[in-house]
């Protein structure tokens, strides 16, 4: 353990901690735009500068290891002046349309600008201007709003291992690029949405956010798609889902999701969604099953009818029984799902082998 002082507050942190980690542990706020505890320190935004006794200049707290006996100052007039100039520079190449921005009130840049206290824009000059890239079905890239913190590139590389994007060009022309600067959809992106999650501005945002205002409630849950059991945070507003993101505090996925968990949620509130069991009318009301596709067309007996779970399961059981009697056990096959719990899959196995008497059972994850 390392003992140090942040703004005269004593704090003990584990070996390997940075000054920024220590400040967080001591509940001292240091503004930052390019740091993420899950990513390697980068030192690009220069917001987290501090003064350290015995150190030259203004080191960045995100990249400086905490050492025994260190004395750190997180504010001073020099620090504040430098943060303000840096923020002014950043905003001199950033659209100032906060009220109309999808990141309004959830934008890190906006928050840090507020913390730093920028009051004017002294530096006029050229601004970058790119076309919005809407090629990905789930998210939008608006590079005009990019502050080049590099979190998306690092998340894609360090967390997802995909390397779909990288820093391209240099100097003022620096931009986050796909190979050959092609639209996002032509890259190797798998739409996991991690880059969108870490983006501190609206340079990357979910298309769904264009239609909705701020989420007002959040619910922690487990992803229903597969057996990994990723933790999700469901963002809702007026009892409707407006967004989903990975739960960083969940030890299973540490905020990571795949495209299904992250973006495959519109079905939840889709008007065509099936919410109660249904059976074909002939099974419920009697009559014979249509013999061909042509016979089933416009045939009211072929319509789906809502019913109770008890009824639906009874009909299923009876039908299986009937099939087994007429055609034997091996005429029936079972398909289970990665979405089910282990216990559920175990029971399905018992049902297939012991009750029905077939070994024909498989799992969607093998397909």
């Amino acid at each position: 353990m390392i003992n140090l002082k942040i703004d005269n507050k004593k704090i003990e942190v584990p070996d390997g901690s940075t000054v920024l980690d220590a400040a967080r542990a001591a509940n001292v706020y240091i503004p930052t735009l390019c740091d993420d505890p899950l990513l390697e320190p980068f030192g690009a935004c220069r917001m987290c500068i501090v003064e350290i006794e015995g150190h030259r200049g203004l080191p960045t707290s995100c990249s400086t290891p905490a050492t025994e006996g260190m004395e750190v100052k997180t504010y001073s007039s020099t620090i504040e002046v430098n943060r303000r100039t840096t923020m002014n520079l950043m905003l001199s190449d950033h659209p100032l349309d906060c009220q109309h921005c999808v990141a309004n009130m959830k934008c890190d840049l906006q928050y840090v600008a507020g913390y730093v206290g920028v009051r004017e824009q002294p530096y006029e000059g050229e601004t970058r201007s790119y076309e919005k890239d809407r090629s990905n079905p789930f998210y939008v890239r608006d590079l005009d709003k990019c502050i080049l913190c590099g979190k998306c590139v690092r998340a894609c590389d360090e967390l997802q291992g995909r390397q779909a994007i990288s820093f391209g060009y240099r100097g003022f022309e620096t931009k986050i690029t796909t190979p050959f600067d092609l639209p996002m959809w032509d890259s190797t992106c798998e739409s996991c949405g991690r880059c969108v999650d870490v983006c501190p501005t609206a340079a990357l945002y979910d298309k769904s956010a264009e239609k909705n205002g701020l989420a007002m409630e959040e619910t922690r849950t487990t992803c229903p798609y597969c057996g990994v059991g990723c933790g999700l945070i469901i963002e809702t507003r007026n009892d409707k889902i407006v967004g989903v993101r990975g739960d960083r505090e969940n030890s299973v996925n540490e905020g990571h999701t795949c495209v299904k968990g992250r973006y495959g949620w519109e079905y939840v509130q889709h008007e065509d969604r099936v919410k109660k069991p249904r059976v074909r009318r002939y099974l419920l009301e009697g009559g014979s099953k249509p013999k061909s596709a042509r016979e089933s067309e416009d045939n009211p007996l072929w319509d789906w009818v809502e019913t109770s779970w008890e009824e639906a399961l009874n009909i299923t059981a009876e039908s299986l029984h009937q099939i087994k009697k007429e055609h034997g056990s091996d005429s029936i096959g079972f398909m289970t799902s990665a979405k089910c719990l282990n216990e559920e899959n175990y029971l399905m196995n018992k049902l297939a082998r012991q009750v029905v008497g077939t070994n024909s059972i498989d799992h969607c994850a093998r397909l």
Partner: protein
């Protein structure tokens, strides 16, 4: 191309080798190098666009380079650049003529400062240039190439007949 190592540090030397042979780095080479070294295409693209040496588009038949070093600057390199750009019909966004004959490169100091300002036409280094001299040299180059092209054309026509 043979690669002795899958070491990432071979990336830049390989790209340099391609550029020496082709004059630029074509897309196919990037894909191939990526596959061999197991480096993602976006990563290679990032490296290529970072270093001034690499070109992603073919280079002109003739290369005119003007040194942008300090000594050349104080001795009038900007005026020479303007003059050559005007003669070749190029600007900040276009470094190669449409016919692919000439490329103008504004190069980092190549250390012949005592001859400043310096211009290189193909492999030939010219020192103590003035805008007027630069224009003449470029016009001469254009004329010579046009003559060559015309001769080649007549030759080809003669062969066809």
């Amino acid at each position: 191309m043979t690669v002795s190592t899958q070491d990432r540090s071979a990336l830049i030397p390989l790209l340099q080798q391609v550029q020496v042979e082709m004059g630029y780095v074509p897309r196919e080479a990037i894909d191939e190098i990526g596959a061999v070294l197991r480096v993602s295409t976006s990563d290679i693209f990032g490296v290529l666009t970072f270093y001034a040496q690499f070109r992603l588009t073919p280079v002109g038949r003739h290369q005119v380079k003007i040194c942008q070093g300090t000594a050349c600057h104080v001795q009038g390199a900007p005026l020479i650049t303007d003059a050559v750009e005007e003669e070749l019909g190029l600007d900040d966004d276009h470094d190669t003529t449409e016919d692919g004959e000439f490329t103008l490169e504004k190069v980092a100091c190549f250390g012949a400062c005592s001859l400043a300002p310096v211009m290189i036409i193909d492999e030939d280094t010219k020192g103590n240039i003035t805008p007027d001299k630069a224009r003449r040299m470029v016009r001469k180059l254009i004329k010579a190439q046009a003559k060559k092209n015309a001769a080649a054309k007549t030759n080809a026509e003669a062969k066809n007949e």
